[in-house]
């Protein structure tokens, strides 16, 4: 009797537990997968949460990917190929400084109004206006007077952009920029903006899907609860090229979860976490996202740290067996790298990597050479024993970062006999320490916003904001400055290759690996493109067959 009562109680409480609760919060209606309803729906996920829907304020890859679908720049960069956007054609002056774009009068906003040259002028001025405080304002420094406007020394109206008439937009650059079109085709900061809409909503502009207006192939119908729903823009000038009926982006932080959702049919595209890559061998595809993992070495000699010694840095570089490192730290999913610049970038004729004849540290490492360099370094540092040296790796709180550090710690103490300590701090603190130079070896890495090696090489330009290594080399500065004015593509690439070689010879940093993203994509989804600058996955022209 007693037991039965208790059992009943138990069952009842379980039932209540499951059914009780406040009313279910409203969620976006979930419809059946594409095949059943006949609708062409593409569902994918991002593991980083997009931060904003305001094109001027975009500052991470997921932001850019959303904007790539909902905004239309002057040109459109699809996987590296530049095609007309709002501008149907354009001319470049002989000195490479003035670009004149003829806008397509059929290009419309989602409310049916024409996209005018003034919308671009407003947007580009807004990007650089200090009052906007756009995190990516620096990308507009290519434009004449860009830096002066950004720092408040000039009015935004003095920026080198002009609307000659409603359909002619003219921009003047600071220096010839070979990759300018490619950049504005992928970076949404250069998208047009409607002044009336932006001013109507003020700080609330683009806070959600309604407080926005769209120039791109898709409009957002919902942007909340960590889900973004895209539908084709009826007023888009090239709407015949758009095949999807809907696209859904979900923010799924946990990669295992995203994979599970793909397997259970809730997603059509998913990245594969590195632990799972061996399991999916043969079923997966890969693309390089342009990110190269490094460790920055603090080359500032005033710190008195052994890391400021060039031979010591060389020893560290030669002691690292990059192939084993990649297997141990990254489960072998990335591609070991001994270079600074991402090899897949466009070179003068083929890719930068193919044209490069960089002489660098062997990928398997060279223990003997490492020990030689260490011996020299020890003499120079006035130390008798390798074990007298202790260096600290400052790294972030991420799993992958920790593993990288552990493998380096193990390899360096094994080969060189030095002591390596690991200081795991928050991402914010890592960046702070890089900026202030309060580190010896720091976690780092770079992905470019535009298809050009300069982006990577700039990390070692002595007056660059990004020179976290505090590296100073006059020859490198000279070469980089020359590359900014050189208009001949091949000659320019030679300058950049030469600069990279010096940086490698000086062992200013520790290259580790180029990131290879392994992903699963439903077989019936066609025409999804991948790119290594700002937009990784480009599904704008995707189709489902």
């Amino acid at each position: 009797m007693k037991k039965r009562v208790l059992a009943a109680l138990l069952a009842a409480t379980m039932a209540i537990g499951m059914l009780a609760g406040c009313s279910t919060p409203k969620t976006n209606k979930q419809e059946d997968s594409s095949s059943e309803s006949g609708e062409k729906v593409f569902r994918y996920s991002s593991r980083t949460e997009p931060t904003t829907l305001d094109p001027s304020k975009t500052n991470c890859i997921p932001d850019c990917e959303i904007q790539h679908a909902i905004t239309e720049g002057l040109v459109r960069n699809t996987g590296g190929e530049v095609t007309p956007g709002v501008a149907s054609d354009w001319t470049v002056s002989d000195d490479g400084l003035v670009y004149t774009f003829n806008l397509n009068p059929d290009a419309k906003w989602s409310d049916g109004e024409q996209i005018k040259a003034g919308d671009f002028v407003y947007s580009w001025q807004r990007l650089l206006d200090p009052d906007t405080a756009a995190p990516y304002a620096f990308i507009g420094e290519y434009i004449k007077n860009g830096l002066a406007v950004e720092t408040g020394k000039m009015e935004p109206s003095e920026l080198g952009v002009a609307a000659v008439d409603d359909v002619t937009f003219e921009v003047t650059l600071e220096h010839p920029t070979a990759y300018f079109l490619s950049m504005i085709g992928a970076q949404p900061q250069f998208a047009p903006l409607r002044q009336d809409i932006v001013e109507k909503y003020g700080a609330e502009f683009a806070a959600d899907a309604e407080k926005n207006i769209y120039s791109g192939p898709y409009v957002l119908t919902s942007a909340k609860n960590q889900k973004w729903i895209f539908e084709p823009n009826e007023n888009y000038w090239d709407k015949d090229s758009i095949k999807l009926d809907r696209a859904e982006l979900s923010y799924v932080q946990n990669q295992e979860t995203a994979l599970a959702m793909y397997e259970s049919g809730d997603l059509d595209y998913s990245e594969i976490p590195s632990a799972a890559v061996p399991t999916y061998e043969g079923k997966d595809n890969t693309f390089r996202n342009g990110n190269v993992d490094y460790y920055y070495f603090n080359c500032d000699e005033s710190t008195g740290s052994p890391i400021a010694n060039k031979n010591f840095r060389l020893a560290l570089n030669y002691a690292l067996d990059r192939n084993s490192f990649n297997t141990l730290a990254n489960n072998g999913v990335h591609v070991p790298s001994n270079a600074l610049v991402f090899s897949g970038l466009s070179g003068a004729n083929s890719t930068y990597g193919e044209e490069s004849n960089l002489e660098s540290y062997p990928l398997d490492g060279d223990k003997d050479k490492a020990k030689e360099y260490l011996a020299t370094a020890l003499t120079e540092l006035g130390k008798s024993n390798a074990s007298d040296i202790t260096v600290t790796i400052t790294t972030t709180d991420a799993d992958s970062a920790k593993k990288q550090a552990e493998v380096c710690q193990e390899m360096w103490s094994d080969v060189l006999g030095i002591n390596v300590e690991i200081n795991q701090v928050t991402y914010a603190e890592t960046l702070k320490r890089q900026q202030s130079g309060d580190y010896e070896i720091a976690w780092g890495g770079w992905g470019s916003d535009y298809d050009d090696p300069y982006s990577y090489l700039e990390l070692f330009k002595s007056d660059s904001s990004y020179n976290y290594s505090r590296f100073k080399n006059d020859k490198v500065d000279e070469l980089l400055a020359a590359s900014q004015t050189e208009t001949d593509a091949a000659a320019r690439m030679d300058l950049l290759h030469e600069a990279e070689q010096i940086i490698i010879d000086e062992a200013a940093f520790l290259p580790q690996a180029e990131r290879d993203v392994h992903y699963l994509l439903d077989e019936d989804v066609k025409n999804v493109k991948f790119f290594y600058c700002s937009v990784n996955i480009d599904w704008v022209y995707a189709d489902i067959q």
Binding site: T13, G17, T51, T52, E204, M261, T426, D449
Partner: protein, 306 residues
């Protein structure tokens, strides 16, 4: 009683003020700033700092913040620009609360039942089974629990949806994962408390009067034994309802937990403060309710005395 509540409310307002002030200054001590992008140049950083008023003295910033706070304005998030903290809390809290309530009901009901069964069958097999359940609940970290449930029920057997929140079915796994720890701890405390109570004279009296065991349990033991559980429930209710980082991440629930944790590591100052205020009010309310319930549940306790 009314005087007591009034006193507590005044104390609560004071506590909140101290809390806000403390957090306001503490987060500024944290290393780093909200603008975390390795590509940000010094010029852009300077613009952002003046945009958010960081170039003004800290005390002025504090004054501005408090002034806005009095108007119910928690400010704009510094990471999710264009979104106010109010909006983010408004969007995410319903999900966390919904999940939390389910988990709490489950945890409390099952926990109490298990605790009672365990105490009444002290020392025999049933007790041991309950101990095992409680031990599993308290000793498996939530990230393992969540992942195992997801893998087992979601992927391997395909019984329940894997992740996200699109209906009641979707809440079962995360609610269970969320409830497990609380369930286990409630059952442990209830067991201990029941045993404690069973030694009391009034139980012995009742038993010697010939009152049935079931009646003793229901009428006397439970009512007296539930008090320590209540004490623990105060903060638990507050933290479970405002979301759990790990479970929400594993099941891709768009709840508050993530923002509560990540705003701190992102140094998103306005968000940290907003979350702290929201959670703090919730917590103080829960604790107040618990203290008042003390008096209701146990006539011998007169709150606010001595």
């Amino acid at each position: 009683m009314r005087k007591y509540i009034l006193k507590r409310v005044i104390a609560a307002v004071l506590t909140m003020w101290v809390l806000i002030t403390a957090v306001f200054f503490l987060i500024r001590l944290m290393p780093g700033d909200p603008f975390q992008n390795p590509k940000m140049t010094a010029e852009v950083r300077a613009n952002l700092e003046s945009y958010y008023g960081f170039d003004k003295p800290l005390i002025v910033q504090y004054g501005t913040y408090m002034k806005n706070l009095f108007q119910g304005d928690l400010g704009y998030s510094m990471k999710f620009t264009n979104k106010t903290v109010n909006t983010i809390i408004g969007e995410t809290f319903p999900f966390s609360a919904d999940l939390g309530i389910r988990a709490l009901v489950l945890a409390l009901s099952m926990g109490l039942v298990l605790g009672i069964i365990s105490a009444r069958n002290r020392g025999n097999k049933l007790d041991f089974v309950c101990v095992i359940i409680a031990v599993l609940g308290t000793s498996i970290p939530d990230f393992i629990m969540g992942a195992i449930l997801q893998y087992g029920f979601g992927i391997k057997w395909g019984l329940l949806p894997v992740a996200q929140y699109n209906g009641i079915k979707y809440t079962i796994l995360p609610a269970c994962a969320l409830a497990f720890y609380t369930l286990a701890s409630v059952s442990r405390i209830m067991r201990a408390s029941m045993l404690e109570v069973s030694q009391q004279d009034y139980i012995k009296t009742a038993r010697s009067k010939g009152v049935s065991e079931l009646r003793i349990t229901c009428k006397h033991q439970i009512r007296n034994a539930i008090m320590p559980v209540m004490t623990v429930m105060g903060p638990t209710v507050a933290s479970v309802l405002t979301g759990t980082f790990v479970i929400e991440a594993i099941f891709a629930i768009p709840g508050m937990g993530k923002y509560y944790v990540e705003s701190v590591s992102n140094n998103d100052y306005s968000m940290v403060l907003g979350m702290t205020i929201f959670y703090g009010v919730f917590l103080i309310l829960c604790n107040l309710v618990v203290d008042i319930l003390y008096g209701v549940a146990d006539p011998r306790v007169r709150i606010g005395e001595r």
